[in-house]
């Protein structure tokens, strides 16, 4: 009970400290919120990309677009000789064109589409081998297969990750500096009180606690702001984004997993860590008792 009451007093002291900090509260929370929003945004983009890539990875299909003048059936028979091939489906240019015209109501042009073969490999590991062999055929103009796209997305994702974490690190450093300065100023203005408390036998935990908790409160508050911003972005962007992703990869489920809760948890954790860490370090440095 005693400890609980002491802890409760520390929280009250923290509230008083925040009240005394005035406008610098807003400065700290704004900067930290910006840093966390960027961090959380990047985290979500990369996590979504990972999910998309994972969905691509489970696709066994290679699409081959044939040059004009080759018989799709003959090419299909040739391809089905490849040991790793399980199934070959033919979509002639006429069928594809009819389908397209009925869905998109395009004007009657000359059919621009190639004959297409959809080739199913026997296992995910075989996809690359099948793609390589099919590509060598003289009848094949071009091929497309999800793993190829997946690799490109992955490269892009790595770039975003590196850039994003560099930005987050820089912003965190800036935030640490701002938090450190704010707490330092507060400590300076209360130096005499701190000395008095120490002479009265108030424990260092009780003296430093409010400063550390104030930093943690900045972290939590900033994370809350950043999370609200991201939720807002999701509400506006999700319908559009889902359409885009599904058109890019038709096999994706419609309820795409953006990793919201994990991201928000990590943001909150990072915010509190940076806030409490910055102020703990500052209190340790400037409160000599």
């Amino acid at each position: 009970m005693r400890h609980l009451r002491t802890f409760f007093r520390v929280i009250i002291e923290t509230g008083l400290g925040i009240k005394r900090s005035g406008w610098s509260n807003w400065l700290v929370v704004s900067i930290l919120a910006i840093a966390l929003t960027i961090f959380g945004g990047i985290l979500q983009v990369t996590m979504t990309m990972k999910n998309v890539v994972a969905a691509f990875g489970s696709q066994l299909e290679v699409s081959a677009y044939l040059k004009d003048g080759y018989q799709p059936k003959r090419v299909a028979r040739e391809i089905s000789q490849i040991p790793e091939v399980q199934l070959v489906e033919i979509v002639t240019k006429d069928v594809a064109w009819d389908e397209m015209k009925s869905t998109f109501k395009v004007a009657s042009l000359a059919n621009p589409l190639p004959n297409t073969l959809h080739i199913r490999a026997s296992s995910p590991e075989a996809v690359e081998a099948v793609a390589a062999k099919v590509k060598l055929l003289s009848a094949v103009e071009n091929i497309r297969y999800p793993l190829n796209v997946a690799r490109k997305i992955n490269e892009f994702r790595h770039f975003i990750e590196i850039a994003g974490f560099a930005i987050t690190a820089a912003l965190s450093a800036a935030t640490l500096t701002v938090i450190g300065n704010t707490i330092h100023l507060l400590i300076e203005s209360r130096q005499r009180e701190i000395e008095i408390l120490s002479l009265m036998g108030v424990s260092p935990f009780y003296i430093k606690g409010p400063f550390v908790l104030q930093g943690a409160a900045y972290g939590a508050g900033s994370a809350a702001v950043a999370i609200l911003v991201l939720v807002g972005v999701h509400i506006y962007l999700d319908p559009y984004l889902t359409d885009q992703l599904v058109s890019l990869a038709p096999f994706l489920p419609r309820n795409i997993e953006y990793g919201m809760w994990q991201t928000f948890g990590v943001m909150l954790g990072l915010g509190v860590l940076v806030g409490a860490g910055g102020s703990a370090w500052t209190s340790g440095k400037y409160i000599k008792i």
Binding site: R2, L197, L199, S203
Partner: protein, 231 residues
């Protein structure tokens, strides 16, 4: 209650205390006198562990302060009531909250806090100023708040370093008489001062410090500016 054994304190120049031996028993009332720079504040600071001796040992309540871990210092200070020349009140807190602070920090129940603060304020006759802020009080009243704060946790020892240094003679006398009344309840009271008037009015034990050395230690003593060392 308080014991110094061969204590020397050296800040780097001329030592502030030289081979001091001193014993103050439980419940005793004593003055530490001497001219400015004699080492009175240094001796007091050793007792509340704001300083450590260069050599020798300091005991308070049987505890060897040399062996006290940094983390135990708050525990020591809670068992000591300390009173300062500049009062050291928290300026942004009311009288009540100044006195209540340590109790709340220790997690004492609010009902109990109120009871103990009222009782401490009544000892110093300041119940009616509970809601005032320090800067609304006279020097003597501020020092009484300092005393209330020092006694609120019921310490066995009260240390006062020049408690009347900023007060007029009449108020000074009131303050030391208040401390004397507190001592009558069994608290050990140790006051440093260079105010001859209060020492000579009370006629209690007088420990004379000069150039860092104890040059006389007399029960029911007086304080003359040039002491007769044969008294």
């Amino acid at each position: 209650m308080i014991r110094l054994q061969n204590v020397t304190k050296d800040y780097g120049g001329r030592p502030a205390l030289v081979n001091v031996n001193l014993h103050i028993a439980l419940g005793e009332f004593a003055f530490l006198v001497g001219p400015s720079g004699a080492g009175k504040s240094t001796l007091m600071r050793l007792l509340y562990r704001e300083e450590t001796p260069t050599s020798g040992s300091v005991f308070v309540g049987g505890v060897n302060l040399n062996r006290l871990h940094k983390r135990q210092v708050p525990l020591l200070r809670r068992r000591l009531g300390t009173i300062f020349q500049d009062y050291k009140l928290l300026p942004r807190q009311t009288v009540f909250n100044n006195v209540a602070y340590i109790l709340r920090a220790l997690g004492v129940e609010e009902k109990e806090v109120a009871k103990r603060v009222q009782s401490a304020l009544s000892v110093v006759s300041l119940e009616h100023k509970a809601d005032a802020y320090p800067d609304e009080l006279s020097g003597g009243e501020q020092q009484r708040v300092g005393i209330a704060r020092a006694i609120v946790n019921g310490p066995p020892v009260l240390l006062a370093d020049e408690p009347t240094g900023n007060l007029d003679p009449a108020t000074s006398l009131e303050i030391v008489q208040l401390l004397e009344r507190i001592a009558e309840r069994g608290t050990t009271v140790f006051i440093s001062t260079h105010d001859t008037n209060i020492v000579n009015t009370l006629r209690r034990r007088v420990i004379y410090l000069k150039g860092g050395e104890i040059v006389s230690d007399v029960d029911s003593g007086v304080y003359e500016l040039e002491p007769n060392l044969n008294v």
